[in-house]
Symmetry: C2
Subunit: 463 residues, 2 copies
């Protein structure tokens, strides 16, 4: 029996105890958005610092202006692998509407299905207590069985992820030297499906503008002025309509600079995922993909940029009709970015476009939003190959490299502030109802999640 | 001294008494929208019926389900002129905000300016008590001086004009035979300017649709779905933007069927009005006319059709950003019509256009609004020439034929139900602040308004 096999066996032997520890953590009501649970948040942080320290990763609760951080380090001398920083968050979402829960959200239940499969039901069972404990328990198994970790590990757990992480950036700035390691490990994402592990390698960026277009100095009667007075809503519709051509391509000059074509093998991998428009679009009541022609739906959401009107309003919006020409029209427009697209160049091009479409007697007022580059793991990075290898071995199915249409702010902060890439591995399922009543985590996700991290650490240690 | 001159002289002699009668009417607080003033509305109707009867036009108060009508008739035998129905309304707008009035709105004041000109300040001084009393006092002067009216006159005064005239259509339907005369005289419009009398000869029609466009079955996260899920707001903007071409022309097939070119002499009259874009558009904070190229601003609002977005909304409209793809988008769109444009054909063309632009997996829900043809006085109608002649003589300046960008519902009802054209003559000024605090009516408007009607009746009698 190899050492790896022994550690994996210990994970199996420890499972009940691991579950009990997860349940203890879940029982602490660490809802970060509600000030009533401030002390609970600190208790959760303290509980984790104590557990990590007991395992052999000396950790402490560090104050911020909000909820505290948990930071710990265990440096393993004389090993060639990277020093990794593990990130998770101990805070959870509120439980409303409470009446839709089948049991107390903070009293975790093991529910067994007819087919024998089991799930853990509780607030935080997945997001992110269940997920972060897969790593903690993997570290414990290594320490207990081998007496040491395969690589040096630092820990950063925050308590404000569900409330916008206001303290995170200042904390990273202040502790940059301590926290800048070779690689971040983040456990807050999902599997492709219940049998297929996944690593998220592409996250789209975002840049947006809130637009206010002012025309006449007051709302006008459309009988008195209709025809002579240019209508701000009509101008705004022209602006929005002109952003996309008939093939779904964005028309801003230079918009596609930095958009990378997908490597053939990744495209092949995605094509082989068994993803169907029927299921994905059918789930939201649609049939046909709405993005760029000649790109699959997965490409449209993972590897292609887009433009969305997130809100638009003006004029009379109540019951019946009021025949006004409104004085103002408003929109919130954002772009999802990929590859090396430069958010500031795109903002400039968008603003220039809007100005060129603004009548000379109108006023255009812009408020910037976002401005984050897309993030991607280098497809050739050794850590990515190792992670893939470890996951494929554990799940007996090749791990897939997936995209993520939205951003995960922590990954950008690690990149920009700590100059660190992130390996995004998680064991959640899309069906887990995170943020909703009856949040759950598969027992299999928890168990094989721990085993997966055991293997990832082992692989990373190989150099 | 001709008989006309004698009647005009009597108007001058009667002026103080006429003013006192107007003041008596103004003092009755006939606010039709507020149930607290129900009895006042009836009192105003009764006051008018009594006055008309005393003059020699036997009149009565007729009940409706709302505020009553005043109806009277005086038939003059053996005259060749038309039998005219005079229309006005005795109800007034509420007085809020009361604190902005310089005096009690129902205690009429004569205010003298530094240049000696005088105005009557009170709620209803213009709209419509001052205006309708110009006709009543003209009839009085004819009866007192000549013992008879020049033509047969019927009277219809309503008390719900400021609250949408709910009882008017049923009343016209029930009394069609009694009220269908040769011509309607309506006193509820304005002069071109304080020296230039005007007859409103073109009123634009209206047809509109409220549009609901349903796409995804719920609001979506634009990271997760952006690109793949077609955005209803974007589709709606495409729809709106496609309605106008770069020359400001509406693109719906057949839209311009029935749009008449303006007669050269009318165009010349309008060009000679001294109307400037600087003044008209400058007053609303704009510089450049926004309608069809190669048409003047006056043509754009009086004789050309238009399309306006009166309201449009969807997605997140609060503070900050929420990167949603909304499930729905909404708009209220209306068209102002001219000439012989057919509202129902245009509604059909608009609906067909919207359907053609609706993605097959979207749902389009339409609610009709309006559907009124434009109205116009035949430029060659004898009554129009006579009215113009009478006004030009009184004001010593040629009366202009003007358009009205909006509709005046009563005119459509007279046309459609009673098959009667309307001669729209009024003596208000745009500056009169009707519906606002410190509503006023020039004493000159009142005085020369009475004299104008004396002359109009005289001209109409000429057959």
């Amino acid at each position: 029996m190899s050492q790896l096999e022994k550690v994996l066996a210990r994970v199996d032997d420890n499972l009940d105890a691991s579950l009990n520890r997860l349940f203890d953590l879940i029982r602490i009501k660490s809802i970060s958005t509600d000030p009533a649970y401030k002390d609970d948040c600190r208790s959760a942080a303290q509980w984790l610092a104590d557990e990590l320290t007991a395992i052999g990763i000396p950790s402490e609760v560090r104050d911020t202006t909000g909820h505290p951080m948990v930071v710990g380090h265990r440096v393993v001398e004389g090993k060639s692998g990277p020093h990794a920083l593990f990130y998770g968050h101990y805070d959870v979402q509120p439980v409303d509407p409470i009446e839709l829960w089948h049991a107390d959200p903070f009293d975790p239940q093991i529910v067994t299905r007819e087919d024998g499969s089991k799930m853990i039901v509780a607030r935080g069972a997945n997001d992110d207590k269940g997920q972060l404990m897969t790593f903690v328990e993997a570290a414990r198994a290594w320490m207990e069985e081998a007496g040491e970790l395969p690589i040096s590990i630092s820990i950063l757990l925050e308590g404000e992820e569900e409330s916008g992480s206001p303290s995170l950036q200042p904390f990273l700035d202040e502790n940059k030297e301590e926290l800048s390691k070779d690689l971040a490990l983040v456990c807050d994402t999902s599997m492709w499906d219940k049998d297929t592990p996944a690593i998220s390698v592409m996250l789209r960026g975002l840049v947006g503008e809130e637009i206010t277009l002012k025309g006449p100095n007051k709302d006008l009667h459309s009988g008195m002025y209709g025809g002579a007075a240019r209508n701000p809503l009509h101008v705004l519709c022209d602006m929005v309509a002109g952003l996309r051509d008939e093939n779904g391509r964005i028309t801003l000059p230079g918009f596609y600079d930095g958009v990378l074509e997908l490597p053939e093998d990744v495209k092949k991998m995605w094509d082989g995922l068994g993803f169907t428009d029927e299921e994905f679009l059918g789930g939201i009541g649609l049939k046909n993909p709405g993005g760029e022609k000649n790109y699959s739906t997965l490409e449209q959401i993972w590897s292609r940029p887009t433009c969305e009107v997130n809100g638009l309003w003006g004029g009379y919006t109540g019951e019946g009709f009021k025949t006004v020409i409104p004085a103002e029209a408003h929109a919130k427009v954002s772009f999802r970015l990929v590859g090396d697209q430069d958010p500031e160049l795109i903002r400039d091009a968008f603003r220039a476009y809007l100005k060129s479409k603004t009548p000379e007697d109108f006023e255009l007022i812009l408020h910037p939003h976002g401005g984050d580059k897309a993030l991607r793991m280098d497809f050739d990075a050794p850590a990515l190959a190792k992670g893939k290898e470890a996951l494929s071995a554990e799940w007996n199915k090749e791990a897939v490299l997936v995209g993520c249409g939205g951003s995960i702010p922590i990954v950008g902060k690690f990149k920009n502030t700590l100059e660190m890439d992130s390996l995004l591995i998680g064991f959640g399922l899309d069906e887990d109802q995170i943020h909703s009543p009856n949040e759950k985590y598969e027992l299999k996700s928890f168990h094989k999640g721990i085993r997966s991290w055991v293997r990832v650490l082992d692989e990373l240690a190989k150099g």
